[in-house]
Amino acid sequence: MAAGAASGGSARADTYKDARGWLLLPSWAVLGIFVLGPVCMMLIYSFLTKEFRGGVIWEFSLAAYDQFFFDRGLFGDEPPTIEWTYITIFWRSIWQAGAATLLSLVIGFPTAYFIATRPENVRPVWVFLITIPYWVNLLIRTVSMKFLLRDQGPLNDFLIGTGLIDSPIHIVNTNFAVQLGLFYSYLPFMVLPVYAAVERYNFSLSEAAADLYASKWTTLRRIVLPAVKPGVVAGCILVFVPSMGSFLAPDLLGGAKNFMIGSLIEEQFKGNAGNWPFGAAASMILLTMVLIILMFSARQQAKADKAGG
């Protein structure tokens, strides 16, 4: 999808060829100051010495990365072994974010497909309806979700009232609650790119497949899915990446009993630990992981484009 937009855009951009440098200046300035600047600062901080109770001392140190990968016991004087604490925390975050992404895909794909197959004049209404809940602040939505899922909340009241269950299901303060929260927070990021892809899909291809006696399932698997794959990949990335760094849902819905990457990093800056270099190092490791995922998907995309073209 990204590649398509770029190639379509370059033809149009030529209209403004002479002014291009000037016109792009604001974007470059914003990106440079607000994206590249902070990232470089974090990179530098991660290699500095920690100052007690927050802050950094301007001396080169690998202590932050050492702390991430090596365990030296409670008192810091045992021979180093591999530190599993932070790997576990990262793994937990990946797992939670992955589950949330899968959930978004399972619910989001049919939704997007449904919207894209409505008559053209009502599609914007459906898209509009999807975005309405997201006009409300994320914190409010997460807290509301907690109220819905509580032991004495409406969901359990309803299930008990209908006689489906006898005692409330504990959802709040479980991993499942976190996954639900992440799924709900980022669902539109799945629906919208998938919708954009399905909308461009030429449905006469499906008819052709049906004419050739392909079952509905086969048509979906062999014809529709490959055609809309870029949208699905974009949606998955857009849900997965913010889910990994999220700390609202884990704190509020998961009970903050176990660190996720986001809350671990937050604790380094806002908690007792006050270990800024370590927080910066954990951020850099997270960033590296995300970059690897993005590069991998971009390469897959390029390969697919080549095979297709």
């Binding site: 409670l74 032991d151 709040v172 176990n258 806002k270 007792n272 006050g274």
Partner: protein, 345 residues
């Protein structure tokens, strides 16, 4: 393009000038959430013409982080807890109030006039003081609650229904009281035992949350909650059948203090604000709202009569001692940080 640049530069200069002009009648307050009634701020503005802007935080540590990450020079006053006052003084974040700068300094109650965390009240005045312990829902449990075992080795009916404060200092201090060890222990066996005790206690806990410490008790999500005394009183008034405990092993005592920050942009106004809060009538209004205790003489006649009789304010005869959170040195603190990470990994 050039015209555009020029006019935007002019606009920028104008807005900077406007800000500077407004700054003469301003006060920027950095304060805990849900801790300052709007009426009190309105009254201050009505009396002095000074406009108050307030930002809030939810822990001493996050306040310190914000100030160290460039918040100095933005805020005039903050409201750190006891141990945080000494940390901030050590970090050089506090300004000294000279003799005679505060007209109402004599109003500070004698027992709070020379606290260990700020000798001679060089940079601070009392705001509120109280205790941190825990509250138990009496519908869920009717046995003896005057023991820290309720949090760390709870009876079966309370297991899995406990909310702890998401604050390393409060949890560690309570755990030390439970084990009867110093707060900044350097004894390896004690520290290992503390680590093991917390690891074991975690299975009984439902969540760590400070912001909603009161709400989880009111809604019934938690049957036990580590909580401040005033919050427990509010939870009870909001209909939860909760009782605040004063464990025989002891409880955490605290005092929040209004401090004058270094590089305060409106230093004069900050001093006026501190004088204002030393008037018994004004600080009593805060106490009536927050339901803790003021550290100023002569407040009692302005206090809501029901406050003094609150069970949360009256430790029973067998209650342990109230202890302040201690400030550990860097080496010791590193071990406690590691124990906290182990607890939440």
């Amino acid at each position: 393009m050039k015209n555009l640049l020029k006019s935007s530069a002019a606009a920028l200069a104008l807005s900077v000038a406007a800000n500077a002009a407004a700054a003469e009648g301003k006060l920027v307050l950095y304060h805990w959430f849900e801790y300052m009634p709007q009426e009190v701020l309105d009254k201050f503005t009505a009396e002095t013409g000074i406009e108050v802007t307030m930002d809030t935080y939810d822990s001493n540590e996050s306040m310190l982080a914000t100030l160290k990450a460039g918040g100095m020079g933005t805020y005039d006053v903050a409201v750190p807890g006891d141990y945080m006052v000494s940390i901030m003084a050590g970090e050089g974040l506090l300004d000294t109030i000279a003799d005679g700068e505060l007209a109402n300094k004599g109003n500070i109650a004698p027992e709070w006039a020379d606290p260990s965390f700020d000798p001679g009240r060089a940079s601070s005045i009392p705001y509120q003081w109280g205790s941190t312990s825990f509250a138990v829902n009496r519908d869920a449990y009717s046995g003896d609650i005057q023991t820290t075992a309720i949090l760390f080795e709870p009876p079966a009916e309370l297991s899995g229904k406990i909310n702890m404060l998401d604050s390393q200092g409060e949890v560690m201090a309570m755990a030390s009281l439970h084990m009867g060890i110093p707060q900044c222990s350097t004894d390896r066996e004690q520290l290992k035992a503390l680590n093991a005790m917390l690891q074991n206690a975690k299975q009984h806990w439902a969540s760590f949350n400070s912001d909603t410490a009161k709400e989880v008790l009111v809604s019934g999500d938690a049957a036990v909650g580590q909580i401040y005394d005033g919050f427990a009183a509010k939870a009870r008034e909001e209909g939860a059948n909760v009782e605040y405990a004063y464990p025989t092993q002891g409880y955490v005592a605290w005092m929040d203090n209004v401090v004058l920050l270094k590089d305060a942009p409106n230093r004069e106004n900050a001093l006026k604000f501190m004088d204002f809060l030393l008037e018994p009538e004004n600080i009593a209004a805060v106490t009536n709202y927050a339901q803790y205790n003021a550290g100023v003489t002569g407040v009692s006649e302005h206090l809501n009569p029901s406050l003094a009789a609150q069970p949360e304010k009256n430790p029973h005869a067998n209650a342990g001692e109230g202890v302040f959170i201690e400030v550990c040195n860097q080496e010791t603190q590193a071990v406690y940080d590691q124990i906290w990470t182990n607890l939440k990994k």
